[in-house]
């Protein structure tokens, strides 16, 4: 190019992410949402599924039930603060609890890889047993399949769960209203960073542990206040930003969150600075967001702080009429920026 001519306009053509499954389709970001919209809803759509909550709620003979299913493919199987077994139990219990349900029964299906040490399986089963006991749920049915070596990462777990929803309780991600407060139960990014620290190629040492925990007791305490709670979410894959964006989109409301109110542990911040990641997109496994009527927000926060998993609960923002479907954050500088949903997984940057 001669530097003496007007600069020309050039650009590469796009690559549609629609022809094949990419890792990003499992990230909890926009690609995951596209998969649901383009493949699953057209195939399975029905009024219950169409709600797209973390659990389905329906009534059988006047009893309202919640049902959920979840698969776990975390690597490594054992990590600081937990393992794939306790994670599976907590994850399923939490998905039920976010619908306001009392979790009761779980199923567990194992996909085991040929060559997995029996000792590992034993440890994971014991861990699940302990987690289920602590959460007051029973594992009542299960299944096992074995795949050839190289076709699975040691083991995958699928858990489904059923719980009972109190009559009259109607939670849903479409119920947020302008003026409502957004409450977050504690620090963000702990689980994702604990896992990332173990990842090959990114090796770093941290004392940070996964926050994996069952949250149904915390939910009980919140419901016990009698406050009008519109919806609850546990921000797992895709982090805080994905959950907030989902609610904003489903309810067609905007959100304004305050950077200063979001707790990020020093170690998580250090890892994010180093790798060029944003903690808002890092996974959590023992945290929850709730959208609550403004008048009752302080009461709900106070009740949450009584519970071990809600000690750092606080209001982090407000639901707005403006910019429906978009989450905006007020920075520490008093300026605003969008908190978007990522397309796929967050990647470490060098830039």
């Amino acid at each position: 190019m001669s530097t003496k001519t007007e600069l020309t306009i050039t650009c590469p053509a796009p690559i549609p992410a629609g022809d094949k499954i990419l890792l990003g389709h499992g990230s909890g970001g926009k690609l995951s949402a596209q998969l649901v919209e383009r493949v699953f809803l057209p195939a399975f759509g029905n009024p219950t599924l169409d709600q797209l909550n973390d659990q389905a709620t329906f009534a059988i003979d006047g009893v309202r039930l919640a049902m959920t299913t979840d698969s776990f493919v975390v690597k490594p199987l054992f990590f600081p603060g937990g393992d794939i077994g306790s994670l599976a139990v907590h994850g399923t219990v939490n998905d039920l609890a976010m619908g306001g349900a009392q979790p009761l029964f779980l199923s567990v299906a194992f996909i085991l890889e040929e060559g997995l040490p029996m000792e590992s399986l034993q440890k994971i089963a014991d861990s699940m047993h302990r987690a289920a006991d602590a959460a007051g749920v029973q594992i009542v049915t299960g299944d096992t399949k074995v795949v050839e070596q190289g076709k699975g990462d040691g083991l995958f777990i699928n858990t489904s769960g059923i719980g009972v929803v109190p009559n009259g309780l109607m939670l849903g991600s479409e119920k947020a209203k302008p003026g409502d407060k957004i409450i977050l139960s504690g620090s963000i990014g702990d689980h994702g960073i604990a896992i990332l620290a173990q990842r090959e190629g990114l090796e770093f040492e941290t004392t940070i542990e996964s926050d994996t925990a069952p949250l149904h007791k915390l939910v009980d305490a919140m419901l016990g206040t009698g406050a009008a709670i519109r919806c609850m979410r546990d921000p797992t894959r895709g982090g805080l930003s994905s959950s907030l964006n989902e609610i904003a989109t489903r309810s067609q409301v905007g959100m304004m969150i305050e950077e200063e109110q979001i707790v990020v542990r020093e170690e998580v911040r250090g890892a994010c600075e180093m790798l060029g990641l944003d903690p808002l997109y890092v996974a959590n496994e023992g945290k929850m967001i709730s959208i609550v009527e403004a008048a009752a927000a302080d009461r709900v926060v106070a009740a949450m702080r009584e519970n071990v998993y809600g000690r750092e609960a606080r209001v982090i923002g407000t639901v707005t009429e403006k910019h429906p479907g978009t989450v905006v954050m007020r920075t520490a500088f008093g300026t605003t920026r969008i908190v978007d949903m990522l397309a796929g997984d967050q990647l470490p940057r060098i830039c």
């Binding site: 600069l7 650009c11 300026t335």
Partner: protein, 376 residues
């Protein structure tokens, strides 16, 4: 965190902005070269804080964005080979080649791995003697020394299966190209602090003198950048055009000599194409002849191919600072991070992506109705 938190103090930031506002008497256009700095500016919402007379344009300083299309295609070809472990920094995986990106290679069964440091690739080569381990070494002057060190380590350890696919670019030639363009509108530059940490800033002094532009070498925290903008405003208002070093805690005049020596040993300067801009003479670095055994391009016999880039978006003007992402008719509609039309939308470091992620609520005109936002 020490040396980070002190430079993020909101109170001092607002004072600096007041001071800049007091000093500005007319419109000035300044450019930050570096994508990392773009990220800071956009993330902290500088545009909302700074007076309207300060027009910040974002330069071509994202190595991910400017990596030439044919290099991405070569990476994809190598990564698709069955006996190769292809090792890359995370942000290169989504950069579209002419047919696909590295994520698609992975989906097709290619062994593509993300690392934080090139030394991990050296480790992988040692641990997998039956595989060819290829490291995708892209970057500016900052990243060249670590890549040189990885090649030197591989040589020292006698590794026969470690290769570097190198695509390095240099900042000063790009600045020259910008300033030589007849449609140049940039009146002052924020120079990249980490590039200058390695190479120093003496070569920027000839630029400042020849083109009569003020240049300030700046760090990456919000206060660093605000102070740099303040320094540039002072220079512009007083009619000076000097090189000032705002980032003295890391940058010295002559830079990091051991790092320069490592680069000198392994690389030599060459002409280099920049994606979206075109060829810039003597703006890149390639692996020297004596390290040919470690050069992926030579070893895999990938002759220079050129790939035609389509004329769909305004990446060139964005990378050259002539236009802002929000000026693009495709911004936020036909061009989004999940379906990028151009490189600046691919990397989180790219100007378009940064705008899309943090700022599209300020651009009602560029948005589809369903996400329309008024400014708060």
């Amino acid at each position: 965190m020490k040396y980070i938190d002190e430079f993020r103090n909101p109170k001092i930031a607002h004072k600096l902005v007041d001071e800049i506002t007091r000093k500005v008497s007319r419109e000035w256009t300044m450019m930050e070269i570096c994508g990392g700095q773009t990220h800071t500016l956009v993330r902290y919402g500088f545009e909302e804080m700074l007076p309207k007379q300060i027009n910040l344009v974002h330069g071509p300083g994202c190595p991910v964005c400017v990596t030439p299309l044919e290099v991405v295609d070569k990476a994809i070809e190598i990564a698709s080979m069955p006996d190769v472990i292809f090792v890359s920094y995370g942000d290169m995986l989504r950069v579209p080649g002419s047919q696909k990106d590295l994520f698609h290679v992975k989906a097709d069964g290619g062994d593509v791995r993300v690392v934080y440091t090139p030394m991990e690739a050296v480790k992988l080569a040692k641990a997998n003697p039956e595989k060819k381990v290829v490291f995708f070494g892209i970057g500016f002057e900052t990243t060249a020394p670590p890549h040189a060190m990885a090649v030197l380590a591989a040589k020292r350890e006698g590794l026969k299966n470690f290769y570097l696919l190198a695509s390095h670019v240099l900042v000063p030639p790009a600045i020259r190209t910008l300033l030589d363009a007849p449609n140049n509108c940039v009146q002052a530059f924020i120079a990249p602090g980490h590039v200058c940490t390695v190479v120093g800033f003496d070569q920027y002094e000839s630029l400042a003198k020849k083109y009569k532009v003020p240049i300030v070498v700046a760090g990456f925290e919000p206060l660093d950048l605000l102070e740099a903008i303040h320094m540039l405003v002072m220079q512009l208002e007083e009619g000076r055009c000097e090189v000032q070093n705002q980032y003295a805690r890391s940058v010295t005049r002559y830079g990091n000599l051991p790092a320069q020596r490592a680069v000198e040993e392994v690389f030599e300067v060459c002409d280099r194409k920049w994606r979206g801009i075109g060829e810039i003479p003597l703006s890149g670095m390639r692996i020297r002849e004596e390290f040919a055994a470690f050069d992926a391009e030579r070893v895999f016999g990938l002759e220079d191919r050129t790939v035609e880039e389509s004329k769909e978006c305004i990446a060139a003007q964005v990378l050259m600072g002539l236009k802002k992402p929000l000026d693009c008719p495709a911004f936020g509609t036909r061009c989004k991070p999940e379906m990028p039309l151009g490189a600046p939308m691919v990397s989180p470091e790219g100007a378009c992506s940064a705008y899309y992620q943090y700022k599209r609520h300020l651009a009602p005109s560029a948005l589809p109705v369903d996400t329309h936002v008024g400014t708060d």
